[in-house]
Symmetry: D2
């Protein structure tokens, strides 16, 4: 009726504790593929941000996002935090694909470069994470975010710390 | 009924275009304070992430977040992207408080360090952004995120590019 | 005579002001190639660090270094600052190769990841910088440092700010 | 005679292996103070860059540098790598001051922001490193570089990885 009328959105997710139990019993690539196949629930943050269409291969993960108004900052563009969420997800999951069962990881950092403003007119965003180096204790990944015209709109690097998981108890 | 039953959340926001029009006609500090006072709508991303209680002074902005399950990653902790959103918001808004009417900004980067895992048990998170240096063309800010026990859980620096806004047309 | 006997090294350089005058009158690629060909003097820092064998193409620069004892930190490895100098040089010069006459640049940041310790046993280090994105006001480059066995030992990204140079006066 | 006449500099250093043997047998603060007192030789890189006047306290290290022509890049300012060397040194040594005997460290990254050009006219540069967070496996430090007029000219953060040293054998 008026321009100030509120918009709203409802999203759902599943108990993240169910998946957490699976971490460590399968390799990272197996876990991510089970999630992509719908055998394991996607983590809540993917529903929060509305990420879609994940793909996972050894050392490489891609994920997509359709920019929407609820992603916006006060400047009328997609908030840098939403862009960072995509980059962090792609980079960390790429590292995860290289880990055998029993090895976990945690992100130590995320270095994001914002290269172009992103709006609903940017079209489907595609974010691809790639492992640049995999050591014994740390792994370095980079992530590239491109818009529907394949222009690079953001870039990140991330270092993950690798650690043995406690022996899993079913 | 079962453990896999979905949780859901509904959030609302207002047309971000209404605020975008106000940017540039007032100083950054005036704009943020109008938003805090409820005279201007908060940007959609604040409702998406559920940020609350912003405070703004010259060169300094604080914002809070109660960690919730919908912020979680597959590891059962708050996703690094949510943490990055808080840090980016506090750093960029701190820069904004130093800008007169007619000057805008855009974030060039965000360098995040994740120091501790964050869960719903971390209590209310408080994120404070501070301007470290304000040049003619760029400004550098840092942001610190602490948990309810005042432990530093994440840190970021961000460089913003400052630019004159086109003369505002009402 | 004793183990504590001092080692010493002498290096020379040319007046950097002579080159500074040339900057802006030629394209970046022309300038770098004139330097490689010996028509222009190399900057003092290259002699300080003992960098050698620069190559330059459009959007890409490589430079080499033989690790030596005088590069060492207290831990008995090449200091991170020396590694950063190589990465910064390769990244910034790669950006420079994309600039026409009359356009200058300045580095806004340098995000370095140290992946492996480097010693005199690492052999000749090769550092390659590549432009990832070239905008109107900024450019993003990455640099990779590999050892003689082609293992990635360090990585960096760097954002450069591009600016018109004052009209050159001979 | 001609403008292109070479300038030269000679510097000396001591066998870094002598100090490397001491690392791990004393706390970090004891080692740095022994170096400052001249009981242990300064590492070669300090002579290379010509750093001076280190101070060390628990969680804090400062070091100074007089900018000189041999630090210059092709743009006629102190090279970013020299600035990075100061910042890396101050940040890493600040972390070192918090480590007991038997614990070593290695720098995982260095995130530098260049805020102002530095020249011989900047006067004595002072670089101060401070520990922001000290965990069990990692520590985060920041470093600030100011010129003789106390203006912030560069800033960095650095994450160090902490690791037990092999039991020292004299």
């Amino acid at each position: 009726m008026t321009q100030t009328q509120a918009r709203s959105r409802t999203f759902s997710w599943s108990d993240p504790g169910l998946n957490a139990a699976a971490v460590g019993r399968r390799s990272g690539l197996e876990l991510l593929r089970a999630m992509i196949a719908g055998e394991l629930a996607a983590p809540p943050v993917m529903h929060l941000i509305d990420m879609t269409r994940m793909e996972a291969d050894e050392g490489r993960v891609a994920v997509e996002l359709v920019p929407q108004e609820f992603h916006y900052n006060p400047l009328g563009t997609v908030h840098g935090g939403v862009i960072s969420t995509l980059l962090d997800t792609a980079a960390a999951c790429a590292v995860h694909t290289t880990l055998p069962a029993g090895v976990g990881y945690t992100s130590l950092d995320l270095n994001v470069k914002f290269l172009r403003p992103v709006t609903v007119d940017s079209g489907v965003l595609r974010c691809e994470g790639t492992v640049l180096q995999r050591g014994r204790r740390t792994a370095l990944a980079e992530a590239k975010l491109v818009d529907a015209r394949s222009r690079l709109v953001a870039h990140a690097t991330s270092t993950c710390f690798l650690l043995p998981l406690d022996s899993p108890t079913p």
